[in-house]
Amino acid sequence: MMLLVKDLEVRYGGITALRQVSIAVNKGETVLLVGANGAGKSSLINAVIGLVPVCGGTIEFDGNRLDRLACDRRARAGIGYSPEGRRVFPSMSVADNVLSGAFGLGRERQRKAFAWLCELFPLLAERARQPAGQLSGGEQQIVALARAMSSFPALLLLDEPFLGLAPVWIARISEAIRQMQQRGTTILMTEQMARPALKLATRGYVMRGGEVRRSGTIAEIRELALAEEYL
């Protein structure tokens, strides 16, 4: 088991964002969290990476407890994170943005990672020295994704990677995610617009009101998503 979340509780002040949430992600699989706005998908991702404190429950990564570790130690343990809303460092160059995901790798491995990512996304080489804030939304999403991939993480957390993107960018990002799958990377992703994500995932969970309501194979999730109008 790559990631095991048991009875997780997250509260923002008096508001409960996650209630008794339990999910499991096996090594090498891609798991999708589906749900409407406020369902708790991003809170779950943020709790796993350590951006929000947990009030109860446990998070295990590769057999080790994560929930007591600082955010940076979780990232260095092998978790890559691409946040919702394409949060890039706007004044930093594209190259520095991408390499900021590989702080702990050392200069030589950083260079190799960047060369590999430039093969995957030629855009990165073309715009390497341009400030990331000057890129379009889709291009910024590519930068955020490349940044999350630059440390060759064992587990990749993708929070709404297709949000607000044109179909051409959705196709490119889907292709990049497929390449990560081929490398054996385990992926946990959230998506409101479930249609493109369903093509990539192997299993899924449906969330609502801070709880996991259903789980199943991707075919089952597609039916549920259709019934609950997520597609």
Binding site: C71, D72, R76, Y81, S91, M92, F103, R129, R147
Partner: protein, 342 residues
Amino acid sequence: MWRRARSISNVVGLGEILSVVVLALAFVIPVASDSPFTHSVANQTLIAITATFSVYIMLRMDLLTFAVPAFMGLGGYAVALAGLRGGVTDAVALTVLSFAVPALVALPLGALILRLRGVYFVLVTFVLTEILLLVIFETPGLTGGSNGLVGMPPIDLFGLSIADNRQVLAFAAGITVLAAIITAALTRYYRQHFASIEENEVLAQSLGLVVWRYKVIGFVVAAGLSGMAGFLLVNMLLTAHPTSFSPISSVNYIAYAIVGGRSSILGPIIGSTLLVWAANIFSIQGEYSQGLFGLLIMICVTLAKGGIVGTAILLWERYGPAWPWGAARASGLAADGARVRP
């Protein structure tokens, strides 16, 4: 040739190279001028530049520090005590001492207070200077209390006594160049780390950056540089006095950094030079001097929100000819991640 220039500027940074070259020109002043006024103002400028480098380092991590006078005081008093009580006059040893004492104090202190953000950090650094002043006043046996420490022996460098104004100025120029090299090395080596902390600390942490470690490194080096500025001040006055390190002087160093521009290491140099010279020229106007000084700061901040250097880079990028080896920012004139835009 441009390719070679570009590769050098990529590694070292054009702004960093220019800053060292510009400061090295200060060695000419003691030779070129006989005027005691010029020597005095040049000395004050070099001290201000050295102190403002520490504000610049902290601003690179989006931290506003009011602790500069506190660390200047630690460095200055450490040097004065070593000279008066220990008989140490060796300039190299005193320089190391003036850097090491505040840096060692900043190390545990930084680990504690750098977890604070925004206004809380500002407040704590301001209080720190007040506490230091209190300690100085309450320990007259060690620090001379409100009388300060007077009668420091002149320092010597490799056997040469640094006693007259020209030598003191040349020594100050040397220390300021050293401070510029330390600042340049730190901010270039950790440019990616500092830039990501400045832009989005939480995001940087989620990407695996141990934010507090780099903040502590920056804080410790900034404290050391402040200590070196304190040494220069004490060496110029041959006195360590509490009024030299008043908390309100931290506002001046912040103004120098903001007016010069926080986007490049050239900012503290230009801001300090302009404002120190302006303050001295305005002082001739007596009662209007403070008002004129304030007016100048208001004009600079209103017309050049990115500071003088930031605005110059912005104007160059917008209207100037193409930079020979890429955009000004990309060539290292402005620090990566630094906000040159208002």
